[in-house]
């Protein structure tokens, strides 16, 4: 057997330690969350980054400096690192706090505007994103293009002073409350030899004439997703994001941030704490609890390692895909453990507590392994990274 280690790519970056200042920041966030919960400002829920839309809470976070943390001060942000943001984000998710209103803007739009946006675009959106006053959606998927973004059909046709967009986007979380979104559209005819060419990103204000937003209710009936239909929507030249025709590369860059964050293993964490509450004083479940906790601890270390790697300017696409695959399956494992270890039927009508968290988690579970690229597609990325494709 010759050198086996060198034949495989690094599947996960080396461990990352949080900077010493992170402890004080974490303590501040925990104190704030404890205060809010004591005051009954919100109830912990599962899958809060999809369903916990609370503009008051988001603006309060903005006031405290916990949004747009990595955005430079001159654009209204706080000039901190990705690991500072990581600490705040994981504390919010672990507490089951309502973070949906600012989620997309804070996680993706801010960093992407810093990377690809024009000076004017940055000045227009970033200060309001950091204040928690401007909400965004993401328009990637289409009825015939889910994880296969090269199949996007929304057309952008050049007109005097800008572009006209025509097409339909689906699964856009929060579009009915949002101010704007990033739309991926085909700005040049499809080239079968290079499926990824000719795509561009546009910043579309959602109150533009020709935009129609229709709910796509979840199987629970709840309204989080939308269909966004463009009928010759005019987008001025100044609202093209980044380079024309480079949309594919830009979007892929965004996905590395999206796939490895703490939201990929903490969506059902509030259910896990509620489960421990139900198990208090009982015995016989130690092993199952320990199994879950060892997986949770490991996932957090993996996610943190990817965050540290992103902070130092790398793009660990393969490791991000691995975290998303393992993490989102883990979110489902918590649901299974809760069902198996406690004989309480899920109750979607309950105000709060274990039965309600379980109900939300069961009904939201199908989304975990779909959003951000289906796990099967991500495994294809991992296989390619190992040289199999």
């Amino acid at each position: 057997m010759t050198s086996t280690l060198s034949r495989l790519p690094a599947l996960v970056p080396p461990p990352t330690e949080l900077p010493p200042r992170a402890a004080a920041l974490r303590a501040e966030v925990r104190a704030f969350l404890a205060e809010e919960r004591a005051a009954g400002a919100w109830t912990p829920r599962a899958d809060v980054w999809l369903s916990g839309w609370d503009e008051r809470f988001t603006q309060e976070l903005g006031r405290r400096g916990w949004l747009g943390m990595t955005i430079p001060v001159e654009y209204g942000g706080h000039g901190l690192g990705a690991l500072d943001r990581y600490v705040v984000t994981e504390e919010l998710l672990a507490a089951g706090a309502p973070v949906a209103a600012h989620w997309v803007a804070d996680r993706q739009i801010g960093p992407t505007l810093m990377r690809f946006g024009t000076e004017e675009q940055r000045r227009r959106y970033l200060p309001r994103i950091a204040a928690g006053e401007c909400y965004f959606g993401i328009g990637m998927s289409e009825p015939d293009a889910g994880s296969d973004l090269a199949a996007v059909r929304t057309r952008a046709v050049q007109v005097d002073g800008g572009w006209e967009l025509t097409g339909t986007k689906v699964w856009t979380s929060g579009a009915h409350h949002a101010h704007a979104f990033f739309a991926l559209a085909r700005s040049a005819p499809k080239d079968d030899a290079n499926r990824h060419a000719g795509l561009s990103q546009f910043i579309v204000d959602l109150d533009s004439p020709g935009v129609q937003i229709r709910p796509i209710p979840l199987l629970t009936g709840a309204h989080h997703f939308n269909e966004v239909v463009f009928d010759r929507v005019f987008v001025p030249d100044g609202q093209v994001l980044g380079e024309l025709g480079a949309g594919w590369a830009q979007v892929t860059g965004e996905l590395a941030f999206e796939r490895s964050g703490p939201e990929r293993f903490l969506s059902t964490f509030p259910l896990l704490t509620a489960l421990l509450g139900e198990l208090a004083g009982t015995s016989g479940t130690e092993r199952e609890v320990g199994r879950i906790v060892s997986r949770l601890w490991t996932l957090r270390r993996m996610s943190l390692a990817v965050a540290g790697s992103l902070e130092s300017g790398e793009a660990p696409e393969l490791a991000a895909a691995v975290v998303k695959d393992l993490g989102t399956r883990f979110e489902n494992e918590i649901v299974d453990a809760a069902r198996t270890l406690v004989a309480v039927p899920p109750d979607p009508g309950a105000e709060s507590g274990f039965a309600r968290l379980l109900a939300d988690a069961v009904l939201h579970a199908p989304g975990f392994t779909l959003r951000g690229g289906t796990n099967e597609v991500l495994r294809g990325i991992v296989a390619r990274g190992m040289g199999l494709r």
Binding site: M1, T2, S3, T4, L5, S6, R7, L8, L11, V12, P14, P15, E17, A23, R26, A27, E90, A94, F269, L272, T273, A274, L276, G277, L279, A280, T285, E286, R287, E288, V289, G290, R291, V293, S294, R295, L296, W297, T298, L299, R300, R301, M302, A305, A319, V322, D325, L326, E376, L378, R379, G380, V382, A383, M386, G387, L388, R389
Partner: protein
């Protein structure tokens, strides 16, 4: 790749073989390059490296199915002797925690499943009251083995004249954690080695007119194995980092080691299962050396505390601490 990993790879590459006894030539090479006693202090003939460095070397040793008592010599026996003011003998060493009757320097009793006992220069025993250094002359050794055919021997001590020191407080707890930490690195390495071999095989083996690695179903399985390998490596490395940062006496390090042994032990079965499934019948034979890695995965997951035992311990800690303490425990920040 770091310097220490480069060095370890250059020494260990090509060392895997079907032999079962300690690989003396490899051990000599490890001693000459300073890798054999990596974490020990200079006064004990060591290189004073971190556990993070040791993790890289041990993971490489696991990946190459190296037949050397690195964990036993460096993390266990060397540490036990040096921390109790005893001289560390030359050569490969082994260590176990067991009860022996100690009367002055006369020691009696039986030790079960001692790793590498038949090939080492001394056996170190951590008893409830003493650290005991047993020279191998005068020990009755009966060969035994684990699933990977690695020596796990029975050793009978009948009044041997030993070097003894009273045991320090906390030594037993630290011994357990060090053994589990070392085993977790070996497991993570073996998982990675098994995956690397399997990916290579899938690229070479042709069925239905193309390499089996081109089939989506096989790719999905290999990606699942890769996730387990990634988790295994991340858990083992993060536990080493926690030991460096906080020391074994800290609750955070104990938590990290328990989680890492539980997680690497759990990954071991899944990686071995997929490796064999992809290899087909040939990997299930003695002629193929996939078994050198998979039998180690099966053996090591049950040594130094099985994944089930560490899970139970971790679960008991978490349940006793209560729901609000879970997140502080996971983040290591109270």
């Amino acid at each position: 790749m770091s310097d220490v990993l480069d060095l370890a790879e250059s020494v260990l590459a090509g060392s895997a073989s079907a032999g079962t006894d300690l690989d003396g030539a490899l051990w000599t090479a490890l001693e000459e390059t300073g890798l054999a006693r990596l974490t020990l202090p200079e006064a004990a003939g060591g290189s004073e490296a971190s556990f993070a460095d040791a993790a890289e070397v041990l993971q490489a040793a696991g990946a190459h199915a190296a037949r050397v008592p690195l964990v036993e010599t460096d993390l266990l026996a060397g540490w036990l002797l040096h921390s109790h003011g005893l001289e560390v003998p030359d050569g490969p060493l082994t260590a176990v925690a067991a009860d022996l009757a100690v009367d002055g320097t006369a020691v009696r009793g039986a030790l079960e499943r001692v790793p590498w006992a038949r090939g080492v220069s001394a056996v170190v025993v951590l008893t409830p009251s003493h650290v005991v250094l047993l020279p191998v002359d005068g020990l009755a050794v009966t060969d035994g083995a684990n699933l990977a055919e690695e020596p796990r021997d029975r050793v009978v001590v009948d009044g041997a004249d030993a070097v003894v020191a009273p045991v320090a407080e906390g030594a037993a707890a630290e011994f357990r954690l060090r053994a589990a930490l070392g085993r977790a690195q070996l497991l993570a390495g073996a998982a990675r080695g098994a995956l690397a071999r399997t990916v290579q095989y899938a690229g070479e083996r042709v069925q239905f007119g193309r390499p089996i690695g081109k089939f989506q179903a096989v790719q999905q399985q290999l990606a699942l194995a890769a996730s387990e390998v990634a988790a295994s490596g991340a858990a083992a490395s993060a536990a080493a980092a926690a030991a460096d940062r906080d020391g074994f006496g800290a609750a955070s390090a104990a938590f990290a080691v328990a989680a890492a042994k539980a997680r690497t032990g759990e990954a071991a079965g899944e990686v071995a299962r997929i490796a064999h499934q992809v290899h087909g019948a040939i990997g299930f034979t003695r002629e193929h050396d996939l078994r050198l890695l998979t039998t180690r995965l099966w053996a090591w997951r049950d040594e130094d505390g099985s994944d089930a035992r560490w899970q139970a311990e971790l679960g008991a800690t978490v349940l006793a601490a209560g729901p609000d303490a879970l997140w502080p425990l996971v983040t290591g920040t109270p």
